[in-house]
């Protein structure tokens, strides 16, 4: 189990590092997903260490995976819209920022 506990630690480090150093937005999202996986791994390792095998962390991680795919989907949809807007502004300098406050 030490292997997986260390793996969780290393993945957490990679995710954190990626999140703070990556400047590309999609990459930052990937790093966040790696980070979440590390946390899930910690839960499951604890379930495996418990005697007998503990089902509660399994249920927690299942819930977590579905929540993560939802947040990732929202983030990606938002990203595609932002990219589309930036592209419009790139090609058409007259198109200023639309909307705004109010």
């Amino acid at each position: 189990m030490t292997v997986y506990l260390s793996l969780a630690g290393v993945l957490f480090l990679i995710g954190l590092h990626g999140f703070f150093t990556a400047r590309n937005l999609l990459r930052r999202l990937l790093a966040l997903n790696v980070l979440t996986t590390a946390v899930f791994l910690l839960f499951v390792v604890m379930a495996r260490l418990a005697e007998p095998l503990d089902a509660v962390p399994h249920a927690i991680v299942l819930t977590g995976i579905v929540v993560t795919v939802s947040t990732t989907a929202v983030a990606l949809a938002l990203l595609v819209r932002i990219a589309g807007r930036m592209r419009d502004e790139d090609t058409d300098p007259a198109a200023g920022p639309r909307g705004g406050a109010g």
Binding site: L29, L32, T71, R98
Partner: protein, 484 residues
């Protein structure tokens, strides 16, 4: 069965059910939302009454007790927050329903209503939750709904929504890591159960640090506030109101729950002072930046950063032994801030609709159609600054009493200085009303009087909180702070 257990069921289920109805039948949106809001407000008021009479309780879900099952926590603190959510939710919905139809060229926010009700339900779930993982799911629920609502107007608001989403997701992940450690240490996720068994050891300390960090990020406490002003400043007015008044308060609410619940044994002078210093820095830095804003909504958004700093002052004051007045004062301030801040954002929304622009120097001149909004703005400002007899005054008074009783003169100074800042930036905003401004020439747009009215009602209730102070002190005795 305790009389009152039906209350949380209604508060939890009704907004979600209404969200489904509104999603399936958009044309019923406005009546369904307003009707739901009225019921929720009534139930929340009734719940406050029940808690006043018989104290708080915990109610199991599915008939399973902790540690296996999860439960809801009803006490003075959660009832207060549920009431705040209902009041702001209803006022915001009324404002959004009464706003003039957007021009045909603008994006039509078709999905405002289901998102609004989802946010409402998520916040209620959060305030009721007594289980750390249930809190995580509710936090994500609230985050997605907030992101959707911020992004509704399109344009640069979507970039702000993205930054908010990333910050808040990072916060939840860090929080969840803390939850994992606590579960590994104690095999429990229930707040009450943890509070009984927690020992001040390394694992608990690390878990506490992680969860606090995650929640500080979500509550936008200095120096983790960077995402807030853009998100709150660019969202539609009703959305800004609920985000600043309730969503931020939710992060703070969880901090209070944790530190006066399971983590109470860890709340030494060092930790408390650190949190207090963060709060002090937030009060001053947020105040300073608010003073420098040129856009009305950005000014109010920075004010949120500043005002939640006061909330953190509760930790050093409680650690120094002045538990009762400090605790009641901080919660009172959060409540008064919520009502007043929502009033400010709604009033600002009405004022900006009237003038067509949000820059401070453009808001003067002819105020026909915006008088009620300006009155609401002034009353809310009075509460935010802390003029007697408003709720803001009582909250600050209690905090000051606590500081005097425990010899915390530094915190008293922060309180005073912050008040001076608040007065200064709100005065700037109010002054803009009476200056000449930019005359557009044409007739002012006709606005529904309901726009300003909701803001006025919220502002008046913030002010009236001061009169209800004894009642609120008694209500909060049923909270977790008594043991602190």
């Amino acid at each position: 069965m305790i009389p009152g257990t039906a209350g949380p069921v209604v508060l939890f289920s009704l907004p979600l059910a209404a969200a489904i109805v509104v999603f399936i039948r958009p044309r019923w949106s406005v009546p369904v939302t307003l009707g739901t809001g009225a019921v929720l407000l009534a139930v929340a008021l009734w719940l406050v009454g029940v808690v006043l009479q018989q104290g708080g309780w915990r109610q199991d879900i599915g008939g399973w007790t902790a540690p296996l099952g999860i439960g809801w926590n009803v006490d003075g603190l959660s009832a207060t927050m549920l009431l705040l959510n209902a009041a702001v939710g209803l006022a915001g919905a009324a404002f959004h329903a009464a706003r003039p139809a957007p021009p045909a060229t603008a994006r039509d926010p078709r999905f405002f209503w289901p998102l609004w009700l989802f946010l409402w339900g998520g916040l209620n779930a959060l305030f009721l939750a007594a289980d750390l993982f249930n809190v995580y799911v509710a936090l994500e629920f609230v985050s997605i709904a907030s992101v959707g609502l911020i992004g509704l107007v399109g344009g640069s608001a979507q970039a702000a929504a993205w930054r908010y989403l990333l910050a808040t997701l990072l916060g939840s992940t860090i929080y969840l890591l803390g939850v994992a450690l606590l579960y590994g240490r104690y095999a429990a996720l229930d707040l009450a159960l943890l509070a009984e068994g927690v020992e001040p050891d390394l694992v608990t300390a690390v878990a506490a640090a992680l969860m606090t960090l995650g929640l500080l990020l979500k509550a936008a406490i200095f120096p983790l506030h960077f995402w807030l002003p853009a998100a709150h400043g660019r969202a539609p007015p009703a959305v800004s109101a609920v985000l600043s008044a309730v969503v931020i308060a939710a992060g703070y609410y969880l901090l209070v729950r944790l530190w006066f619940g399971p983590f109470a044994p860890l709340l030494g002078t060092g930790v408390a002072t650190l949190l207090g210093l963060l709060g002090a820095a937030a009060v001053l830095w947020g105040g300073l930046l608010a003073l420098m804003q040129r856009h009305l909504k950005m000014l109010i958004a920075y004010s949120t950063v500043s005002q939640f700093g006061y909330g953190l002052l509760v930790f050093p004051l409680v650690a120094a032994g002045a538990a009762h007045p400090a605790w009641a004062g901080a919660v009172m301030l959060v409540l008064a801030h919520g009502l007043a801040k929502a009033a400010l954002f709604l009033a600002a929304g009405a004022i900006i609709l009237r003038h067509g622009i949000g820059r401070l120097e453009a808001l003067g001149g002819d105020q026909r159609g915006a008088v009620v909004a300006w009155v609401a703005f002034a009353v809310a400002s009075a509460s935010l600054v802390g003029l007697p007899p408003t709720g803001g005054f009582v909250g600050k008074w209690w905090l000051a009493q606590a500081a005097l009783a425990s010899g915390g003169y530094f915190w008293l100074a922060v309180l005073m200085l912050g008040t001076a800042f608040t007065a200064a930036y709100l005065w700037r905003a109010l002054q803009a009303a009476v200056e000449p401004g930019w005359e557009s020439g044409g007739e002012p747009p006709t606005l529904s009087p309901a726009l300003g009215l909701g803001a006025l009602l919220l502002a008046l209730s913030a002010a009236a909180l001061g009169l209800a102070a004894p009642l609120i002190a008694r209500l909060l005795d049923a909270g977790p702070g008594v043991s602190g």
